[in-house]
């Protein structure tokens, strides 16, 4: 269906959430591009398996909670399954990229069958959260240099950590932002804060990555908060049961497997 880009997005979000452990020496005259490349490089793992709790808060403070598991293998395979709420339990989405072609399937347990679905806009909201698919792509995507112009504009402290401050301007017209500001921790190249500016150059959203922990030699934030300051809405993602580089059978990423549970 329209704007369903879930699997790709989730592949990306896993990259965003889970970085590699930084160990590089900081060169003195780094450019914005260099730092982004570094951020990119630090985030890499063959497989990932984790649980994501999503709290979506609307402008009136009402909350909607969802719990999903995400499994990814390489850059081409991903599976999302709902755990909570109970009435959507076992609803699953599968994405497999083959020859650059992205295929997506949806399993609705109540219907008992698998449907192939199509995808559209990347500026759409990701699963009803305050993230768009592009937001998620932004940090994690490997094609930074093609999509964005980055510039190191200074150094600032965020929650006690010294950070590089980058100004990033999208080149592609399809991205609905005029600018993004990014604070990357100097020690380990972990992004701590991002600000998204809309087409009128007004601050639209603020994203914060909190509590990076070392899990299997990968730095992983426990919590990501995205706040839409214009709408007054907020999304909190909490990450648990994170596993890296475990064995995930290719069988898991097939439509047959979708219906089996």
């Amino acid at each position: 269906m329209k704007r369903i880009k879930i699997i790709t997005a989730l592949l990306v979000i896993s990259i965003l959430l889970i970085g590699g452990l930084g160990s590089s020496v900081i060169a003195k005259d780094m450019t914005g591009e260099d730092i982004l490349e570094k951020v990119d490089k630090e985030m890499n793992s063959e497989t990932r398996d984790f649980i994501l709790e999503m709290t979506i808060i609307n402008e009136n403070g009402q909350e909607r909670d969802r719990k999903i598991t995400i499994k990814t293998k390489g850059e081409n395979k991903g599976l999302v399954k709902f755990l909570e709420p109970g009435d959507v339990k076992d609803t699953a989405l599968l994405t497999v990229k083959e020859d650059g072609q992205e295929n997506m399937w949806l399993y609705l347990p109540a219907l008992g069958n698998v449907n192939k679905i199509a995808s559209h806009s990347k500026n759409g909201d990701f699963m009803g959260t305050d993230f768009t698919y592009n937001d998620i792509d932004m940090v994690g995507a490997s094609n930074y240099e093609d999509d964005y112009d980055s510039e190191l504009v200074g150094e600032e402290e965020i929650r006690g950590d010294m950070c590089y401050k980058l100004s990033t301007i999208p080149i592609k017209e399809s991205i609905n932002y005029s600018e993004m500001k990014m604070w990357v921790r100097k020690d380990d190249y972990m992004p701590l804060k991002l600000e998204f500016y809309d087409e009128d150059s007004k601050l639209q959203k603020i994203m914060k990555n909190k509590n990076y922990r070392d899990i299997d030699s990968h730095l992983t934030p426990e919590e990501i908060v995205m706040e839409n300051v214009q709408k007054g809405t907020k999304t909190i993602l909490e990450l648990s049961d994170v596993k890296y580089n475990i064995k995930l059978d290719d069988q898991i990423f097939t439509t047959r497997f979708l219906t089996r549970n």
């Binding site: 269906m1 959507v88 609705l108 109540a110 449907n115 192939k116 679905i117 699963m127």
Partner: protein, 753 residues
């Protein structure tokens, strides 16, 4: 009054300077006055129906939209669709427009055995007739958009531009109107919808203000010149009314009260009504000079002799206007406040500012102003003859008219429908009629259902309600989460019409909703609240009279009761509900303000004349006038609306002045003359003349409102002018006839020698 005269003389410079300074300050604020023409603006903010409307608007939005209708021989062809695509793109970029729905971006949920997608209904624009034909067949196969976006004959289509939740959607409408201008020809393009009507009304109001005010000033200038034939006789009265207009508009602006549909006539009204006080002052001033007094003495006598009379006349007029404050409609309350304040200022400047200026001026070069006019003398001779010899016929005639008017009183109907504010040939009306006839109307009427949407029972009830609504005439296009779920089911199963059914288990509903949320959150939010516990059924309603509208809304309400019963809380809201509320308040306000106007007038005249009987005599002609007003409305089929509802109170406030003048003069002369008949004759000849000028100015002022762009205001102007004539006749013929009859009964003869 002596003290007042002295005070003015000693402080004349101070008064003139103060008036000038305040006028400049008020002028500054007056220029910042805002104009508001929305239906919500008419109702009090804490009104329950308004609160409900705003709550629903906050949750779901979508109540304010502009419908742009495009007509052509064939709309499903390349040039027209290209144009629609361009308009859609441009409007989507327009600030304040949240969403545009048109032929080129509407979607369908499509599915097959292997997949499901949401696609544009028209995937590619047709390059030839064959492709056009295929698209048309698609539309005919799915009734989803037929009659909603495009007509069955494919000669007409509509673009819906939703406007963001804003205080003044009309500003956005102006941008939309500007944007679509260049797309006209060869197709016909029309634009309507509630915010469009408000925007059009606002434009007309601005036009009215620009057109009517100079016009009324011109007319009053002519009347003043004919009356006084001197420059100061013209300039002084006109300056007092202009000062009163500036102060009043400035005052309203300071209070944060915008000009409304009805207060558009406020400046016009103040100019014509307010000039009366200045006329009396200036006229007496000339009389005093003609008697041989010097300037100081003439001004002093003027203040002493007519000061009280002018204050009395102004006081009753203020009360008449102020009685409108009893209306429950905010715009009429504001109007009451504005006019009462304005009349007060006109009164104040007439007795302070004019004498202050007159003290400073040299004696006029001629006194034509105070000379007798042959025409008016003959006129009053005629009137006196009628009163003297035809009084029985007059009384019989009055009784007949009372009977005829009372007869039609029950037939009076309120009509406050917004579309009736536009002339029949106005573009607004034409576009709205097109939208009614081809696309089922543009007035949003919404049903808000409280209950967990994952409950299949609730979905079934909603579906049944929607099916039933299709049988209600003039209420169309029901659309809700049920519609989306049915389409989704069709897409996820076999793509046939039979599969457009609602999911029947809680889990299935939840999973369908999840999928909808992930694919198009915004679309879902139009129909379902965040907590899944409130959902909305959108419908559109055609325009019709308030009475019919009330019946229709009641019919919808009874269907709600039938399908949802007591099991779920269901609310009905939308523009028609607001309209009904305005109608109800018009009627209740009419009764309250009219009764209070008559009671207050009776009390004031009784107090001033120190007798209940005299107060009753004075109030009689005006009660008759009010009755005639309703009689005329009944016989001509004029309905009570936001403007005509004010006529009765205004008639009481202004019209009673004529009776007061005649009656007080009659009482005064009765003490001087030996015969009561002669006293009455004297009153008619002296006060009658002042009354005539006064009435002429007021009637001319109201007649100018006939040039307004708003039918209710035109009717208002006409009706008020007629009531002025009736109350003038009432004071000069009916009241004297009654007095004459009483004299005859008491004295047994009418000897006037």
């Amino acid at each position: 009054m002596n003290k007042l005269a002295k005070f003015i003389k000693n402080h004349s410079t101070f008064i003139i300077v103060m008036v000038a300074i305040i006028t400049v300050i008020m002028g500054y604020y007056a220029l910042q006055i805002e104009i508001e023409a929305g239906i919500k603006d008419m109702l009090p903010e804490d009104n329950k129906v308004v609160e409900q409307f705003e709550e629903v608007q906050d949750t779901f939005g979508g109540m304010d939209f502009a419908a742009i209708i495009l007509e052509d021989e064939e709309v499903i062809d390349l040039p027209t669709l290209k144009k629609i695509e361009k308009i859609t793109n441009e409007l989507e970029k327009t600030e304040g427009v949240s969403k545009v729905k048109s032929l080129t971006n509407i979607e369908k949920i499509e599915g097959s055995v292997s997949g499901i997608e949401v696609n544009k209904f028209i995937k590619e624009l047709p390059r030839n007739k064959e492709e056009s034909k295929r698209i048309k067949e698609n539309f005919l196969n799915r009734d989803q958009y037929l009659g909603k976006i495009v007509t069955k004959d494919f000669k007409s289509t509509v673009l819906i531009a939703e406007i963001e939740n804003e205080d003044q959607p009309e500003v956005v409408v102006n941008k939309i109107q500007q944007a679509i201008k260049k797309y006209k020809e060869p197709e016909n393009i029309y634009i309507t919808g509630s915010p469009v009507m408000v925007a059009d009304a606002t434009d007309y109001m601005k036009g009215d203000l620009k057109k009517l005010l100079p016009f009324v000033i011109g007319v009053i200038l002519i009347i003043l010149y004919l009356s006084f034939q001197s420059i100061r006789g013209v300039l002084l009265p006109i300056s007092t009314v202009l000062i009163s207009v500036v102060w009043t508009v400035g005052f309203q602006s300071l209070l944060g009260k915008p000009l409304s549909l009805v207060s558009t006539v406020l400046p016009v009204l103040l100019v014509s009504v307010g000039s009366a006080y200045a006329i009396h002052i200036v006229s007496r001033y000339y009389e005093e000079l003609k008697l041989g007094n010097d300037i100081d003495k003439a001004v002093e006598n003027t203040i002493k002799e007519v000061g009280i009379a002018v204050i009395m006349a102004g006081g009753t007029t203020m009360v008449g206007f102020a009685s409108l404050f009893f209306s429950d409609l905010v715009i009429i309350q504001d109007f009451a406040l504005g006019t009462a304040f304005g009349v007060g200022i006109a009164l104040l400047t007439s007795i302070l500012f004019i004498p202050a200026v007159l003290y400073k001026m040299k004696a006029p070069s001629h006194l034509k102003a105070a000379e007798e006019r042959i025409f008016s003398t003959n006129f009053f001779k005629g009137i006196y003859k009628i009163v003297r010899y035809r009084r029985r016929a007059i009384i019989i005639l009055v009784i007949i008219m009372i009977a005829l008017s009372s007869w039609v009183l029950p037939k009076l109907k309120p009509n406050t429908n917004y579309i009736s504010y536009f002339k029949k040939d106005s573009s607004t009306r034409i576009a709205t009629e097109k939208a009614d006839n081809t696309f089922g109307g543009t007035q949003p009427l919404n049903v808000v259902v409280h209950g967990n949407i994952k409950n299949a029972d609730l979905l079934k009830r909603m579906r049944n309600f929607q099916d039933d609504i299709k049988n209600v005439d003039a209420v169309n296009n029901p659309l809700s989460i049920v519609t989306l779920l049915r389409q989704e089911n069709r897409a996820l199963t076999e793509d046939i019409k039979e599969n457009e059914v609602i999911p029947e288990t809680k889990n299935k509903i939840a999973q369908y909703l999840l999928l909808l949320e992930m694919s198009d959150k915004e679309m879902l939010e139009n129909y379902l609240a965040f907590d899944y516990k409130t959902s909305m059924i959108q419908m559109t309603m055609e325009t019709m009279s308030s009475t019919e509208q009330k019946e229709k809304v009641a019919e919808v309400r009874s269907l709600i009761n039938k399908h949802f019963g007591d099991k779920y809380k269901v609310e009905l809201t939308g523009i028609p509900k607001l309209g009904n509320e305005v109608t109800d308040l018009v009627v209740s306000g009419q009764i309250k303000s009219m009764i209070s106007a008559i009671v207050f007038t009776f009390l004031i005249t009784s107090i001033l004349l120190k007798s209940l009987k005299r107060g009753f005599f004075c109030s009689l002609p005006i009660a008759f006038t009010v009755l005639i007003n309703f009689g005329i409305m009944g016989w001509l089929g004029i309905s009570l609306d936001i403007a005509t509802v004010m006529v009765a109170s205004i008639a009481v406030g202004i019209g009673v002045d004529y009776s007061i003048h005649i009656f007080t003069r009659y009482l005064e002369e009765k003490d001087k003359k030996d015969k009561e008949v002669n006293a009455l004759k004297e009153a008619i000849f002296t006060v009658g003349r002042a009354n005539l000028y006064n009435a002429a100015a007021v009637i001319a002022g109201f007649c100018i409102i006939l040039l307004s762009s708003f039918p209710p205001l035109i009717t208002f102007g006409g009706l008020t002018a007629i009531t002025m004539i009736v109350s003038f006749i009432g004071a000069l013929i009916i009241l004297p006839s009654l007095i004459m009859t009483t004299i005859k009964i008491i004295n047994g003869n009418l000897d006037d020698n």
